[in-house]
Subunit: 115 residues, 2 copies
Protein backbone atom coordinates (compact mmCIF):
# COMPACT_ATOMS: atom_id res chain seq x y z
CA UNK A 1 0.00 0.00 0.00
CA UNK A 2 3.03 2.30 -0.25
CA UNK A 3 2.23 4.08 -3.50
CA UNK A 4 -1.16 5.23 -4.66
CA UNK A 5 -1.35 4.76 -8.39
CA UNK A 6 -4.61 4.01 -10.17
CA UNK A 7 -3.40 0.47 -10.76
CA UNK A 8 -2.20 -0.26 -7.21
CA UNK A 9 -5.40 1.21 -5.78
CA UNK A 10 -7.64 -0.89 -7.93
CA UNK A 11 -5.60 -4.01 -7.11
CA UNK A 12 -5.86 -3.19 -3.39
CA UNK A 13 -9.60 -2.61 -3.73
CA UNK A 14 -10.06 -5.94 -5.48
CA UNK A 15 -8.00 -7.80 -2.88
CA UNK A 16 -9.96 -6.29 0.00
CA UNK A 17 -13.20 -7.19 -1.77
CA UNK A 18 -11.98 -10.73 -2.33
CA UNK A 19 -11.25 -11.06 1.38
CA UNK A 20 -14.62 -9.61 2.33
CA UNK A 21 -16.34 -12.01 -0.07
CA UNK A 22 -14.88 -14.94 1.86
CA UNK A 23 -14.80 -13.75 5.48
CA UNK A 24 -16.93 -10.59 5.40
CA UNK A 25 -20.26 -10.31 7.13
CA UNK A 26 -21.11 -10.31 10.78
CA UNK A 27 -20.07 -13.81 11.79
CA UNK A 28 -17.32 -15.57 9.87
CA UNK A 29 -14.31 -14.01 11.59
CA UNK A 30 -16.03 -14.37 14.97
CA UNK A 31 -16.57 -18.09 14.27
CA UNK A 32 -12.96 -18.57 13.20
CA UNK A 33 -11.85 -16.76 16.34
CA UNK A 34 -14.05 -19.02 18.51
CA UNK A 35 -12.77 -22.17 16.77
CA UNK A 36 -9.17 -21.17 17.45
CA UNK A 37 -9.51 -22.65 20.92
CA UNK A 38 -10.25 -26.07 19.41
CA UNK A 39 -12.92 -28.06 17.59
CA UNK A 40 -16.49 -27.64 18.71
CA UNK A 41 -19.92 -29.18 18.23
CA UNK A 42 -22.71 -27.28 16.52
CA UNK A 43 -24.63 -26.34 19.67
CA UNK A 44 -21.48 -25.35 21.52
CA UNK A 45 -20.49 -23.11 18.64
CA UNK A 46 -23.96 -21.61 18.43
CA UNK A 47 -23.86 -20.79 22.15
CA UNK A 48 -20.29 -19.49 22.27
CA UNK A 49 -20.58 -17.30 19.23
CA UNK A 50 -24.14 -16.23 20.03
CA UNK A 51 -25.47 -17.19 16.59
CA UNK A 52 -28.87 -18.68 15.83
CA UNK A 53 -28.67 -22.28 14.51
CA UNK A 54 -30.14 -21.30 11.17
CA UNK A 55 -27.55 -18.63 10.45
CA UNK A 56 -24.73 -20.72 11.95
CA UNK A 57 -25.51 -23.58 9.59
CA UNK A 58 -25.29 -21.30 6.55
CA UNK A 59 -22.09 -19.61 7.77
CA UNK A 60 -20.40 -22.96 8.47
CA UNK A 61 -21.32 -24.25 5.02
CA UNK A 62 -19.71 -21.20 3.42
CA UNK A 63 -16.59 -21.50 5.59
CA UNK A 64 -16.36 -25.19 4.61
CA UNK A 65 -16.80 -24.37 0.94
CA UNK A 66 -13.89 -21.92 1.15
CA UNK A 67 -11.62 -24.44 2.84
CA UNK A 68 -11.49 -22.67 6.19
CA UNK A 69 -13.44 -25.13 8.34
CA UNK A 70 -13.83 -28.91 8.23
CA UNK A 71 -16.95 -30.73 9.38
CA UNK A 72 -16.11 -34.05 11.02
CA UNK A 73 -18.67 -36.75 11.68
CA UNK A 74 -17.61 -38.73 14.76
CA UNK A 75 -18.52 -42.37 15.13
CA UNK A 76 -20.07 -41.99 18.59
CA UNK A 77 -23.47 -43.01 19.87
CA UNK A 78 -25.37 -40.92 18.99
CA UNK A 79 -23.32 -39.70 16.03
CA UNK A 80 -21.85 -36.26 16.73
CA UNK A 81 -20.54 -33.64 14.38
CA UNK A 82 -17.61 -31.39 15.12
CA UNK A 83 -16.26 -28.35 13.37
CA UNK A 84 -12.58 -27.62 13.20
CA UNK A 85 -10.33 -25.03 11.59
CA UNK A 86 -8.28 -26.13 8.59
CA UNK A 87 -4.59 -25.52 8.16
CA UNK A 88 -5.45 -22.92 5.56
CA UNK A 89 -7.54 -20.92 8.02
CA UNK A 90 -4.34 -20.00 9.83
CA UNK A 91 -3.45 -17.82 6.85
CA UNK A 92 -6.07 -15.44 8.29
CA UNK A 93 -4.04 -14.91 11.46
CA UNK A 94 -2.75 -11.47 10.48
CA UNK A 95 -6.28 -10.33 9.65
CA UNK A 96 -7.59 -11.60 12.99
CA UNK A 97 -4.73 -10.12 15.00
CA UNK A 98 -5.09 -6.73 13.28
CA UNK A 99 -8.85 -6.71 13.88
CA UNK A 100 -8.44 -7.75 17.51
CA UNK A 101 -5.90 -5.00 18.14
CA UNK A 102 -8.02 -2.38 16.45
CA UNK A 103 -11.12 -3.47 18.37
CA UNK A 104 -9.30 -3.21 21.71
CA UNK A 105 -7.92 0.25 21.07
CA UNK A 106 -11.19 1.51 19.59
CA UNK A 107 -13.19 0.42 22.65
CA UNK A 108 -10.58 2.02 24.91
CA UNK A 109 -10.78 5.24 22.92
CA UNK A 110 -14.59 5.31 23.10
CA UNK A 111 -14.61 4.58 26.84
CA UNK A 112 -12.01 7.31 27.46
CA UNK A 113 -13.99 9.74 25.34
CA UNK A 114 -17.15 9.12 27.35
CA UNK A 115 -15.47 9.66 30.73
Amino acid sequence: MAKHTVESCSKAKMAIRDTLDVVGGKWKLVLISVLRSGKKGFNELSREAGISPRILSKELQELEMNGLVIRKVCDTKPITVQYELTEYSHSLNDVLVAMEKWGYQHRKRIVQGIK
Copy 2:
Protein backbone atom coordinates in the same frame (compact mmCIF):
# COMPACT_ATOMS: atom_id res chain seq x y z
CA MET B 1 -3.77 -14.44 20.56
CA ALA B 2 -0.97 -16.57 21.93
CA LYS B 3 -2.85 -18.42 24.66
CA HIS B 4 -6.35 -19.78 24.46
CA THR B 5 -7.98 -19.34 27.82
CA VAL B 6 -11.73 -18.77 28.20
CA GLU B 7 -11.02 -15.18 29.16
CA SER B 8 -8.56 -14.36 26.37
CA CYS B 9 -10.86 -15.97 23.80
CA SER B 10 -13.88 -14.01 24.90
CA LYS B 11 -11.85 -10.78 24.89
CA ALA B 12 -10.61 -11.57 21.40
CA LYS B 13 -14.16 -12.35 20.26
CA MET B 14 -15.43 -9.05 21.65
CA ALA B 15 -12.60 -7.07 20.05
CA ILE B 16 -13.23 -8.64 16.64
CA ARG B 17 -16.94 -7.91 17.01
CA ASP B 18 -16.21 -4.32 17.95
CA THR B 19 -14.12 -3.92 14.81
CA LEU B 20 -16.80 -5.54 12.66
CA ASP B 21 -19.42 -3.24 14.19
CA VAL B 22 -17.46 -0.24 12.94
CA VAL B 23 -15.93 -1.38 9.66
CA GLY B 24 -17.77 -4.64 8.93
CA GLY B 25 -20.16 -5.04 6.05
CA LYS B 26 -19.53 -5.06 2.37
CA TRP B 27 -18.38 -1.49 1.79
CA LYS B 28 -16.66 0.38 4.60
CA LEU B 29 -13.16 -1.02 4.18
CA VAL B 30 -13.45 -0.72 0.41
CA LEU B 31 -14.39 2.95 0.81
CA ILE B 32 -11.51 3.59 3.16
CA SER B 33 -9.18 1.88 0.72
CA VAL B 34 -10.47 4.04 -2.15
CA LEU B 35 -10.12 7.24 -0.09
CA ARG B 36 -6.49 6.43 0.67
CA SER B 37 -5.56 7.93 -2.69
CA GLY B 38 -6.99 11.31 -1.61
CA LYS B 39 -10.25 13.13 -0.95
CA LYS B 40 -13.06 12.56 -3.37
CA GLY B 41 -16.48 13.90 -4.26
CA PHE B 42 -19.62 11.85 -3.75
CA ASN B 43 -20.12 10.86 -7.39
CA GLU B 44 -16.46 10.05 -7.88
CA LEU B 45 -16.56 7.83 -4.82
CA SER B 46 -19.76 6.15 -5.93
CA ARG B 47 -18.20 5.38 -9.31
CA GLU B 48 -14.79 4.26 -8.05
CA ALA B 49 -16.14 2.01 -5.31
CA GLY B 50 -19.07 0.80 -7.43
CA ILE B 51 -21.66 1.66 -4.77
CA SER B 52 -25.15 2.98 -5.40
CA PRO B 53 -25.66 6.57 -4.15
CA ARG B 54 -28.25 5.48 -1.62
CA ILE B 55 -26.00 2.94 0.08
CA LEU B 56 -22.93 5.17 -0.23
CA SER B 57 -24.72 7.97 1.60
CA LYS B 58 -25.56 5.67 4.53
CA GLU B 59 -22.07 4.16 4.66
CA LEU B 60 -20.40 7.58 4.63
CA GLN B 61 -22.63 8.80 7.45
CA GLU B 62 -21.63 5.82 9.56
CA LEU B 63 -17.94 6.30 8.76
CA GLU B 64 -18.27 9.98 9.71
CA MET B 65 -20.07 9.13 12.95
CA ASN B 66 -17.19 6.82 13.88
CA GLY B 67 -14.57 9.47 13.18
CA LEU B 68 -13.06 7.72 10.16
CA VAL B 69 -14.14 10.09 7.39
CA ILE B 70 -14.74 13.86 7.30
CA ARG B 71 -17.24 15.53 5.02
CA LYS B 72 -16.02 18.91 3.78
CA VAL B 73 -18.24 21.48 2.16
CA CYS B 74 -16.16 23.54 -0.28
CA ASP B 75 -17.04 27.12 -1.04
CA THR B 76 -17.08 26.71 -4.81
CA LYS B 77 -19.78 27.56 -7.34
CA PRO B 78 -21.78 25.38 -7.24
CA ILE B 79 -20.99 24.24 -3.69
CA THR B 80 -19.19 20.88 -3.72
CA VAL B 81 -18.78 18.29 -1.01
CA GLN B 82 -15.68 16.20 -0.53
CA TYR B 83 -14.96 13.19 1.62
CA GLU B 84 -11.59 12.66 3.22
CA LEU B 85 -10.02 10.17 5.61
CA THR B 86 -9.35 11.34 9.16
CA GLU B 87 -6.06 10.92 10.97
CA TYR B 88 -7.74 8.23 13.08
CA SER B 89 -8.63 6.16 10.03
CA HIS B 90 -4.92 5.42 9.59
CA SER B 91 -5.15 3.25 12.70
CA LEU B 92 -6.90 0.76 10.39
CA ASN B 93 -3.78 0.37 8.22
CA ASP B 94 -2.81 -3.01 9.67
CA VAL B 95 -6.33 -4.34 9.10
CA LEU B 96 -6.32 -3.10 5.51
CA VAL B 97 -2.82 -4.41 4.77
CA ALA B 98 -3.65 -7.84 6.24
CA MET B 99 -6.88 -8.04 4.24
CA GLU B 100 -5.16 -6.96 1.05
CA LYS B 101 -2.43 -9.56 1.47
CA TRP B 102 -4.92 -12.30 2.23
CA GLY B 103 -7.08 -11.33 -0.74
CA TYR B 104 -4.10 -11.46 -3.13
CA GLN B 105 -2.93 -14.85 -1.96
CA HIS B 106 -6.44 -16.30 -1.85
CA ARG B 107 -7.14 -15.26 -5.44
CA LYS B 108 -3.78 -16.72 -6.52
CA ARG B 109 -4.58 -19.97 -4.73
CA ILE B 110 -8.01 -20.23 -6.36
CA VAL B 111 -6.63 -19.45 -9.83
CA GLN B 112 -3.87 -22.05 -9.40
CA GLY B 113 -6.38 -24.60 -8.17
CA ILE B 114 -8.55 -24.15 -11.22
CA LYS B 115 -5.64 -24.56 -13.71
